[in-house]
């Protein structure tokens, strides 16, 4: 695949690993958080951790929209889907996310709810056109990458004068979540993880650009390097972070310049700001209420807002107390620190959302990392 395979060359990766090792100072730790689930996935899949020096640790952050969706929002969607007039359209990743008491959209579907998996918002529009007598609701979820497609869809629904179409909006923003990790009030109970720098989101940044991260570099004194998702991209970004740390710099640097600019995608940003506005707060699984971190439809588009249209009440449910997703999303604990990992909780029977999405830390470790644990145990 062009613009992918070139950035997976093993020889170059080994050379980069040597450069990283040569430049890290043995006496100090380097702790970098990758915010994005896509990065977590790449690190596990290509075994990048094995190539890095022991004093350099990658901390898996909260950056997977499926993993941070609170169980209450799943319950709300299930209630909606159980209404006979409604067809609920969802991205496939959401089907197995646990709601309260083991409920999921998949189980609701098995019980007869009309829930349809879609690949794109365009499919949801088509379903609404084909079913004029039903109410079609799109379960919108995702970071800044997935929000513009939802905005385009609402504009399209308006253009086509679709009156049976609405959106259950769960879009969230990455910068407030990053800030929350650095300064949240419940750090005292859950513990804080020391972070020396961030690997910044790849595809989120294609939309919002690198500028929003300048605040972190300045305000928190943390280097941020925006990185692509291929293994060589990640290795280069890690080297760039090592150099910033060594030189006591904290700037925003852009490794992924082939796709990301400082300002991002202006057209996409415009679409989003036309249609959405900030919520005062939004609940994140594992992070709790995060101020100004979620989006809702503007009042002018209220007829497309499923929460208004169907009088949906906010449901709050506590996560399974044994599930450590909260601490894992903050990088305080690793998947293997969870008692349920690999026993009751596997990708087939996920207890927490970190095990559902392939970009979740638990699922990534289950698929690619647990054999390494086993080898390390045997070796020691």
């Amino acid at each position: 695949m062009k613009y992918a395979d070139e950035y997976r060359d093993k020889e170059i990766a080994l050379g980069l690993a040597k450069t990283i090792r040569a430049e890290t100072h043995l006496e100090r730790p380097y702790r970098f958080m990758e915010f994005c689930g896509g990065h977590t996935h790449a690190i596990s899949r290509y075994g990048l951790e094995d190539m890095l020096p022991n004093n350099l640790r990658m901390i898996h952050g909260p950056g997977c929209p499926v993993c941070v969706l609170p169980a209450g929002r799943i319950d709300m969607a299930i209630r909606l889907a159980e209404r006979s007039e409604i067809i609920l359209c969802v991205y496939g990743d959401l089907m197995r996310v646990p709601g309260s008491q083991g409920a999921s959209l998949l189980k609701a579907k098995a019980r007869g709810a009309d829930i349809r998996m879609v690949y794109s918002t365009i499919d949801a529009i088509r379903i609404a056109e084909e079913n004029p007598e039903r109410e079609v609701v799109f379960f919108a979820i995702g970071f800044e990458t997935t929000t513009p497609p939802t905005a385009v869809m609402i504009r399209l629904a308006e253009k086509k004068r679709l009156s049976n179409f609405s959106v259950f909006c769960n879009h969230v923003l990455t910068p407030p979540a990053m800030q929350n990790i650095l300064e949240s009030p419940d750090i005292r109970s859950i513990g804080r993880v020391e972070i020396d720098g961030f690997v910044g989101p790849a595809h989120v940044s294609t939309i919002i650009g690198t500028a929003p991260y300048e605040f972190f570099a300045e305000e928190f004194g943390k280097p941020v390097v925006i990185s692509g998702f291929e293994p060589l991209d990640m290795m280069q970004a890690i080297l760039m972070l090592v150099r910033q740390v060594n030189e006591n710099r904290h700037e925003v640097e852009n490794q992924y310049s082939r796709a990301v600019t400082r300002d991002g995608n202006l057209r996409a940003k415009e679409e989003v700001s036309d249609i959405f506005e900030l919520r005062d707060q939004f609940e994140w699984r594992g992070l709790g209420q995060v101020p100004y971190s979620g989006l809702k439809l503007k009042r002018a588009y209220a007829k497309y807002d499923a929460e208004v249209r169907f009088g949906m009440n906010e449901l709050r449910v506590d996560d399974n107390p044994a599930c450590e997703c909260g601490a894992i999303l903050r990088g305080v604990k690793k998947p293997v620190d969870c008692k349920l990992f690999g026993t009751v909780c596997t990708p087939e029977t996920p207890m927490g959302s970190c095990m559902v999405s392939s970009e979740g830390a638990c699922a990534a470790h289950w698929t690619y990392g647990r054999f390494r644990d086993h080898q390390q145990r045997r070796a020691s």
Partner: protein, 78 residues
């Protein structure tokens, strides 16, 4: 959820849609978020939408830099 892949634009359609090719597999996607797109451009696609164009010049420069950084490492003892 956020995984996205590069694809080559092979045909522009009406209504801000286009056909792209991913390793020879064709797919119809929306290009409503992209300005000034031409056949032969590479874009990053995600949930059926092109998010951004790939800049071939920057892509080449990154590869060159990666090679240089890798060679720097080859000279040091493992």
């Amino acid at each position: 959820m956020c995984l996205a892949i590069p694809a080559e634009v092979t045909k522009l359609l009406s209504d801000e849609m286009a056909i792209v090719s991913i390793d020879g597999v064709s797919k119809e996607i929306s290009v409503a978020l992209i300005e000034n797109l031409a056949v032969g451009d590479y874009v990053i696609i995600h949930v059926g939408y092109a998010l951004t164009k790939i800049d071939p010049e920057e892509a080449r420069r990154t590869l060159e830099l990666l090679r240089e950084l890798s060679v720097e490492g080859q000279g040091v003892a493992p």
